[in-house]
Symmetry: C2
Subunit: 460 residues, 2 copies
Amino acid sequence: MDSKDMMKRLVEPESVAIIGATRKTGEFALNLVQHLLAYGYTGKVYPVNPNASEISGVQAYHSVGEIDAHIDQAVIMTPREAVPGTLKECADKGIACAVVVAQGFNDAGDKEGKELNRQMKDVIRDTGIRVLGPNTFGIANGFINFSSSFAQIRLDKVPVGVICQSGTFFHGFPEFRLTGKGIDIGNACDIGFIESLEYFEDDPQVKVIGLHIEGINDTKRFLETARRISLKKPIIALKTGKSDRAAKAMQSHTGSLAGNTLLWDSALKSAGIIRVNDMEEFYDIVRLFTIAPLMKNNRIAVATYSGAAGIMTMDALQGSGVEMGELSTQTLQKLKDIAPPWLHVGNPVDFWPIMQAAPNQGLAMRDILDILLSDDELGGVMFLQLAFVDRTAEGLRMFLNYMAARFPDKSFISAIPGSSDVQCITGLQQDGKHVAYPTPERAARAFSRLWQYSRLRNGF
Amino acid sequence: MDSKDMMKRLVEPESVAIIGATRKTGEFALNLVQHLLAYGYTGKVYPVNPNASEISGVQAYHSVGEIDAHIDQAVIMTPREAVPGTLKECADKGIACAVVVAQGFNDAGDKEGKELNRQMKDVIRDTGIRVLGPNTFGIANGFINFSSSFAQIRLDKVPVGVICQSGTFFHGFPEFRLTGKGIDIGNACDIGFIESLEYFEDDPQVKVIGLHIEGINDTKRFLETARRISLKKPIIALKTGKSDRAAKAMQSHTGSLAGNTLLWDSALKSAGIIRVNDMEEFYDIVRLFTIAPLMKNNRIAVATYSGAAGIMTMDALQGSGVEMGELSTQTLQKLKDIAPPWLHVGNPVDFWPIMQAAPNQGLAMRDILDILLSDDELGGVMFLQLAFVDRTAEGLRMFLNYMAARFPDKSFISAIPGSSDVQCITGLQQDGKHVAYPTPERAARAFSRLWQYSRLRNGF
């Protein structure tokens, strides 16, 4: 079968057999049938368990062969010993692809695991069935309320395709669910980064691609594929395994070879991939690209509630490629017109004294941002404001959505520290117009990454 | 007056005059009298406003001289022009110290600001009154429900003394309020880091000292003071102003000279101060020291839900001074006894397969941590677990509090990513027994800083 058709059955299944479905129910049962009902998945679900005739109210089958219907995908949740045989049954039934959940193949410390891995690969070679995994959460697809994860996750329709080697990325953070469509390639005995990237390449539901990479088998083809796709959609990569010890651990985690981190740096860069440094930056930068438009140049203005936070921003921008230069004479004059006469007006713009001197503080804040956001010489505007308490956080959220909607083509990013920052930042993320972070340094880093990709796309 | 007595009146005032108190009320009025009532401050409050006889139900005075009572502290909230004269009136009234809120002195772009600054300093020299500020939020003291901040803040009894040059640090983050006792020295025309450090030195309510530094006047005496105190309490510093532009901006923010960042690095290190890199690390590391005991050696074990997260931890620990070495034969054997036979048991400990093979998953997780936390050869234990949904986050919080209480002398830090991480992390912080971060890398960084200070204190 064509790889793209197979990937469609894998990520967007209309029917799924769950082999080794548990009969346990309740909160900690890891009952996938129960999860799919809870998600509201509308495809056909066929639980397979030799000892059950129904699971969570859904008719169950004793073997996959008994199911008298077409099946897009099998999720194999059996212990490792049963995997090769079960996979063969799936192939015989005409199923195109299977998710193999179990651990204990090449990642295991014993001979039996390696032997089972060989048997599994033999079935793949002999029958043509394709395998995602082993050692995987499988698929998450918020657009069809589907996930093969044995742990229940929160699904969301975010325009992000994630290809990862760990289910941890299916779980997101409070402000950002991350995975609109997720493919956990696990130990990648068959389906890997390349098929998955190609699936996301023309997917209209996916605007940004996130990669968690431990190792890659066919590096050359991976880089060629990424080079083509990164000119259409931003690709953000968290490549882990920098130390010798990590390389050793990865071999037992996903059986990957780590490789030299500097080589990876230049290889990923040459393919137009944005390499991030840690889990937090991965989430920060992926969600940045779900919202922020590209930058037209690398000069930004910073409007800040606090001189101190403005200085932290400058520290963070140092060497980033993004500059906080002087404002134009025209823009400076507009700001001076509303500032108290003693205030030294420059970049960053210290808006607190301007607001305090104004008859209406809210209007003054709007005017300041209007002046900066409408300055065509600026590639972006950063706004730093505190979320003092829940109520001011709500007001700030409304205000920022309003300003972002007025200037949809300007790169506009906020940092919102304070005791109610999560509330404000999560709300803004859900609204989908404006991206905000809890510290000035994380907002500055986001601008730096945005400029990195803007250069690639615009050929600067 | 003795500096320590004066600082006591400043940070723990039993009576305060609010000069230039506003008559406006409501949410955005910045009415300090109203804030103090809301905080539940039980000291005496004397609002001063030439046009009011009461403010928010509290008797007001037309001038400070009219108040017929002893006053510990004046908060001067007038426009800048009125500051020198008002300060003189306070001195004549016998008030020992004043908070000067207004901006526009040496930080301003005009001559008048500099002239007003000179006049203010003349009053200080001639009368002996001491000044905190100008350009400051003043004081926050959660232990007596007091703050001079014009913006209402959330007070808390956290054992942290903060000395800063921006009110931003009075506002905290959702998981951590930061400022138990805060001294915003602002432009530091008089009271500065040294008096403030000495105040916190013997303060039994303060366990950790946090510094936000833009610049320091008497660097030599500051470093001597810090060197003495850092052997009693950890001092964490965010020193900002790394670029030339930042140095210029700081001159207009707090009138400070930035100085070379490498010089600062070695100077702070020589004084036993832990220098952090950004706002997020400042909060992370200060709150670390409010809870975590010191490490007895630099070897840690990592128990992880995910091989991938374990690898991220290794990446983050590289070059940190903290090592994830091999586990002892005895500890390995104890783990192997409860692990499935095929599992490669090492460090990190992949606990998911062990839990899945166990009759009771919760007990298995407890057993794994028991084995690691009771291993005397380990200096610390890191625990990585997902907060899937709100309910698992609550269970995790209970579990971690239970484990931390069983091993109060072991350095034990968690990373809890997932869609409910904030809930779990904030809850744990409030409970005060266990410290957790949302990513493996931030937990690894915390261990690295904990070891840095443990070495200093234990002379390793």
